[in-house]
């Protein structure tokens, strides 16, 4: 058994993640979480999200992972009691004060140590275990031998990032944002200074380069997720509370397919390559495996610069309804009759289809779908469901 853990920046993204087979969702409330510029969830929305997830037998984790200044504790006790009362499954924590408070309040919710705590060894994990923690979200720098050691000697649930952006520094050990933007990175204000361009001088103050980058490539564990599982990772975490619904759906769908193939012994290199191509196309930055299998070098760094990132218009629409062989779709990007497209959803792998008819919402024939969020209809007998997505077909198995 594994857990596929997805981010949610708001309720819409949460619903997409649940639809796309996430076993658990993580997000932040309006306070105390490390994505202060994500929409985040109100108290009512946290309750709604929890009820929705639980109705589908899925779990909800709430980030309470800022490093607190004294003034930030205001309201924390009431917030934790509320989370406990509505029955969220766990909170993710970095600050020992929150763990102590949870113990003091005898809360039922599980406590997970956030990656901000940078746990890389069994002794640090044991420290947290003795504080009542049930799970460690490993430091992004954890290597395979660290995972094996921590799992075998602590028995704790281990969670690790499997896909998404990486911090260049140890999480929690970077305050470049504090210096350059006055935004506290350890309280949700990270301005991604590692993606800024620096001038690089040697110790004699002679210029080496006026185009220096700290930034590293994103993480992708497509090639190593099986080894992660065998090493002891239980929860496979996708980064990106601020990512698009298309990104969340695509990444979840791809990893779920990989796990399904793994569990029925049908996984092969060609399929992994196919999935890798889809994931690479979906993200707008290059990726690499980073620390798990080897120490990262210059090939894991990102030297092109943030302005060179690319985006595409692959995401064509979302299925709203499939009834009487008429598929209703909300458009997201331009497409037209004759295009080769691909439906994907949690109940299907991929459905290739050549657009041979298009109608507007009143069933008037059209040739192109060119208005953002316009409602279009396709007459076709396809096993797609509401929430499934449509994209340009680039890759095929």
């Amino acid at each position: 058994m594994i857990e596929l853990l997805a981010p949610a920046g708001d309720i819409e993204k949460l619903k997409v993640a649940l639809h796309y087979s996430a076993d658990a969702i993580y997000f932040g409330g309006q306070n105390y979480s490390l994505r202060a510029n994500a929409k985040n969830f109100s108290l009512e929305e946290i309750k709604e999200a929890t009820m929705l997830a639980h109705s589908l037998n899925k779990k909800v984790y709430v980030a309470v992972n800022i490093i607190f200044h004294d003034e930030d504790f205001k309201g924390l006790k009431e917030y934790l009691l509320y989370l406990d009362e509505i029955g969220i499954d766990a909170i993710m924590v970095s600050d020992i004060a929150v763990l102590e408070l949870c113990n003091e309040l005898k809360l039922k919710i599980d406590r997970y140590v956030s990656t901000q705590a940078s746990v890389l060894n069994e002794e640090a994990a044991m420290f947290y275990k003795e504080l009542g923690v049930k799970r460690i979200v490993l430091a992004r720098e954890a290597m395979k031998e660290d995972v094996i050691a921590i799992k075998s000697r602590t028995g704790l649930d281990l969670e690790a990032f499997v896909h998404g952006a990486m911090c260049t520094g140890f999480s929690g050990r970077c305050i470049l944002s504090n210096y350059l933007t006055n935004r506290d990175s350890n309280r949700g204000g990270c301005a991604q200074i590692c993606r800024w361009k620096f001038d690089f001088y040697d110790e004699n103050n002679d210029l080496i380069s006026d185009n220096f980058w700290l930034s590293c490539k994103d993480l992708s564990m497509v090639d190593y997720f099986k080894e992660m599982f065998e090493a002891g990772i239980y929860s496979f975490k996708i980064e990106g509370r601020m990512r698009s619904i298309y990104y969340i759906a695509t990444v979840l769908h791809c990893y779920r397919l990989l796990f399904n193939k793994l569990s029925n012994n049908s996984l092969n290199p060609a399929y992994i390559n196919f999935i890798r191509n889809i994931l690479n196309r979906c993200a707008n930055r290059e990726n690499a495996t980073q620390f798990f299998n080897k120490f990262p070098d210059e090939n894991e760094q990102y030297y092109l610069g943030s302005r060179e990132e690319v985006s595409n218009q692959d995401f064509l629409g979302i299925v709203l309804e499939n009834k009487d062989n008429i598929i209703t779709i909300e458009q997201r990007n331009y497409f037209k009759i004759g295009d080769e497209v691909q439906f994907f959803g949690p109940q299907n792998e991929f459905i290739n289809y050549k657009i041979d008819n298009l109608y507007d919402e009143n069933l008037n024939k059209i040739e192109i779908a060119n208005h953002p969020q316009m409602i279009i209809k396709i007459k076709a007998k396809l096993p797609v469901s509401p929430g499934d997505m449509l994209r340009i077909k680039i890759f095929d198995i």
Partner: protein, 261 residues
């Protein structure tokens, strides 16, 4: 400020005699192989110095590194205290007699967490991203005397990656292990790379000496001077209030927590 409450880091052992002449006997040394960003010293070098030796162990440690550390624990008896970043260090030393100082960079920033740690360890070393009012509040609320950094360079980022040599190798430049990363003249970072990763220090020192008279001396165990980038002349400048190019932005300005929509 009594000399017995002053803790100093130096860049080489030859400097110790100068400090000892003026009555300073407490020194903090980065332990070779287990630290990053500071001049490192071996246990053998520190063994018979006739001073009070405190060790700075500021690596975030993986399994291999902490196992290496376990092998030297029996040699630490002469040490007066250990500043630790990784909580694994606390865990392996908690049943030993060595005084421990919680020094998790950027985490020692509220009185509640500090008091929690003070139930376990001897003291804690305050983080530099605090305002003056926050420092006063923490000193008021905490249960044991703390260590207050007075002068030094703040670590702004710590990475396990080889950020300088990776870049130079990628571009075919000569490999260097330190240098400066600059956004503009006001915002520069001194970068150091070792086999344990890379750290960036803000290029200007902080100097909290001018505020110490506003703080409760009895709540401070040590006033810590990191002079690894300078020397005893700098120490005299500090205590004579002759430092002019320091940077105290965090002391005087809160950082933003909640961003506006």
């Amino acid at each position: 400020m009594k000399n017995s409450k002053i803790l100093v880091s130096v860049k080489n052992l030859d400097e110790l005699k100068e400090y000892k002449k003026i009555g300073i006997t407490n020194f903090l040394f980065a332990l070779k192989g287990f630290s990053i960003g500071y001049p490192e010293f071996t246990l053998d070098e520190l063994l018979d110095l006739d001073i009070n030796v405190y060790l700075n162990i500021n690596l975030v440690m993986d399994t291999k590194k902490i196992n290496e550390f376990k092998n030297i624990i029996s040699k630490l008896d002469f040490v007066k205290g250990i500043f630790f970043e990784d909580l694994g260090i606390y865990y392996v030393l908690k049943d030993h007699h060595i005084p421990l100082i919680w020094n998790q960079n950027h985490f020692v920033i509220n009185s509640v967490s500090i008091n929690s740690w003070l139930n376990r360890v001897t003291s804690a070393c305050l983080t530099n991203e605090l305002t003056k009012e926050e420092i006063k509040y923490i000193l008021e609320k905490t249960s044991k005397p703390l260590i207050l950094p007075i002068f030094g360079y703040n670590i702004a980022m710590y990475s396990r990656r080889y950020l300088l040599s990776n870049f130079n190798r990628y571009h075919g430049y000569k490999i260097v292990n330190n240098g400066y990363l600059k956004i503009n003249p006001q915002n520069q970072f001194k970068a150091y790379e070792t086999e344990n990763g890379t750290v960036l220090f803000y290029h200007k020192p902080f100097n909290y000496y001018p505020i110490i008279n506003e703080l409760k001396d009895e709540k401070i165990w040590f006033y810590y001077f990191d002079l690894t980038h300078s020397n005893i002349a700098q120490y005299h400048k500090i205590i004579n209030n002759e430092i002019s190019d320091s940077e105290e932005r965090f002391l005087n300005h809160k950082t933003i927590y909640k961003l506006e929509d």
